[in-house]
Amino acid sequence: MEKQSDLLLDIQHLHTAYRLNGKFYDAADDINLTLKRNEILSIVGESGCGKSTIASSIIGLYDHKNTKVTGDILYNELNLVGLNENLFNKIRGDKIGMIFQDPLASLNPLMRVGDQVAETLYYHTDMNEKERHNRVIELFNQVGMPKPEETFQMYPFELSGGLRQRVVIAMAIACKPEIIIADEPTTALDVTIQAQILDLLEDIQKQSQSGIILITHDLGVVAETADQVAVMYGGQIVEKADVKTVFEHPLHPYTRSLLNSMPQSEDEEEDLHVIQGTVPSLQDMPRNGDRFAARIPWIPASAHEENPVMHEVEPGHWVRCTCWKTFHFQDEVGGE
């Protein structure tokens, strides 16, 4: 049995809708997720599936005029949905740290990177300037910055992509947050640097006993780092399980397609599966029936549930719709 306090984030029936031409469209549609301490939860899916939407809903950073968020995001009994901005600013940066995709764009071009990290400390601690400086140096050491003192005085453009992302990570963990949200933290980086940054995130998670939500479209990243996985398609979670189950016993056609389209070896000749079509735009997303059905047209409509819901097919393993039971790839012989 897990202790109650191990539950860091409990997301229930989260709907996030954006206003487009006067109408609201759900980009996150009935999301149910939990994040526990000491856990890396990965949200994976193609571009436009609503991954960042979940992240921005959690941290409350969206255009309030054109975005409608409903449901519950519970953090220690506190509902983050609709939380007052002043209270939220006490949580952001302190209890929840955020790492974004593009480290260059994420940093203020006109501010020394050290000051940008120290800014977090300024709002959440009562350290004086000297103490903040020392803490930043300590953080720079922790994230593996080669020359912390020199780096403190530098501007973002003077650093390489990998070092910039280390600055962003230092900023996110400055106040030892319980929750770290990393939205595609390695997408903008070179392959060699990607692995280093992921290792760093894992180290941080272990040291701080925090929970990390790692958003990515790269299943390789998921396999390497995640404990729990939520696969998203068209604003919905279509499969949810621990990482082993997802890779060894994937059920939902979308999960299986994603896995099949992932390179298995270094072999360049390898024939990769390509998922037909693309993720529809927010306005074109079918709101009834199986949203993924359009991209596996060889599967008869009768295989899908009329209104697909999540089923717990084995303890802790959730799958949307029942179409997985008869799903086969186009070049496979149908039926099971």
Partner: protein, 319 residues
């Protein structure tokens, strides 16, 4: 940073040389010479020739150029053939007048434009923004001289609040009396110029704020828990002021060309009016001197822009 500034100043040297050569040849091509107007039909042509030779007009061109540049350094810009006074003395007073008028209008212009730009950018698409946009359309659409004439008509003739011409009243006396009268003469033209030159600063600032608001680094600042107000002032506003700081130098150029219109409409004895008058009177010496000064000030403005930029933008400062 000092290296950047020094390098930038060094770049100005060839620019100045080119400017001086251009103006020198321009001066040579203009009709007339120092003896025009002093000669009557009865003068012996031989004597004129001798005078010209003595004045060095038949020397090789490089020698003449060197002498001309040497005179420039001594502050000798030649003598006006029309007014028969040294051009330097002709320009000096006007330059001071134009300087004060420009300074006044610049200060007022920025004090109006910056709050307007901030308000429009912060409240994008709300009524504050729309009001500022309407103001911008008006200042952009109305030709400056129409605007000045309307101003003169309303505040000068109809209401009688301000003098409508000159830079000082003839019976002003004493230090304070003179100063007061000068300021009094500057207020109306200065304010009108200020109002009509706000457009670009307002637009720069508004666009800067609107663009910066949605930048990732602003989202990062929010995600750190930085309060809204601080995010605006410390991150968004500061970064949006950058293009304004860098365009400051070019304001000088704008003021110079603008001074011709406003000074003519207000009969304000400044360099702009002098320039137009010199054209009208075919006072070529004065004209060339003014072209040289305007060219120099333009280069100076660009230098200023670059130096300001290198101070405020670390990306330029450090490279």
């Amino acid at each position: 940073m000092w290296k950047t500034v020094l390098r930038r100043i060094l770049i100005m040297i060839p620019q100045l040389i080119i400017l001086s050569i251009l103006v020198f040849f321009l001066a040579k091509m203009m009709p007339g010479d120092p003896f025009s107007g002093q000669i009557n039909p009865n003068t012996d042509p031989k004597q004129i020739e001798a005078l010209k030779r003595a004045a060095g007009l038949y020397d090789p061109v490089p020698v003449q150029y060197a002498r001309w540049v040497g005179n420039l350094f001594k502050g000798d810009l030649g003598t006006s053939y029309i007014q028969h006074v040294p051009v330097t003395s002709l320009i000096a007073d006007r330059a001071v007048n134009t300087f004060w008028l420009s300074l006044f209008s610049t200060v007022i212009s920025y004090s109006i434009a910056i709050p307007m730009g901030i308000s429009a950018g912060r409240h994008q698409d709300e009524w504050q923004d729309q009001a500022v946009q309407i103001f911008n359309y008006i200042t952009l659409a109305v030709p400056p001289f129409v605007f000045y004439i309307l101003g003169i008509w309303l505040f000068g003739f109809t209401l009688g609040w301000f003098p409508i011409s000159g830079s000082i009243s003839p019976n002003a006396s004493g230090f304070w009396g003179t100063l007061g009268s000068e300021i009094y003469h500057i207020i109306l033209p200065g304010t009108l110029v200020a109002l009509i030159t706000t457009t670009s600063v307002v637009q720069y600032l508004r666009t800067g704020i609107v663009d910066n608001k949605v930048e990732d680094y602003v989202r990062t600042a929010h995600s750190k828990g930085v309060p809204e107000k601080v995010v605006f002032n410390k991150h968004i506003l500061r970064n949006s002021l950058l293009p304004i700081a860098s365009s400051f130098g070019t304001v000088i150029t704008g003021l110079l060309s603008g001074s011709m219109i406003v000074e003519s409409v207000f009969s304000y004895p400044g360099m702009g009016k002098l320039f137009l008058d010199s054209i009208g009177q075919r006072d070529y010496t004065t004209l060339t001197a003014l072209i040289l000064i305007f060219g120099f000030l333009t280069l100076l403005g660009n230098l200023l822009s670059d130096i300001i930029m290198s101070i405020v933008d670390p990306r330029i400062r450090i490279k």
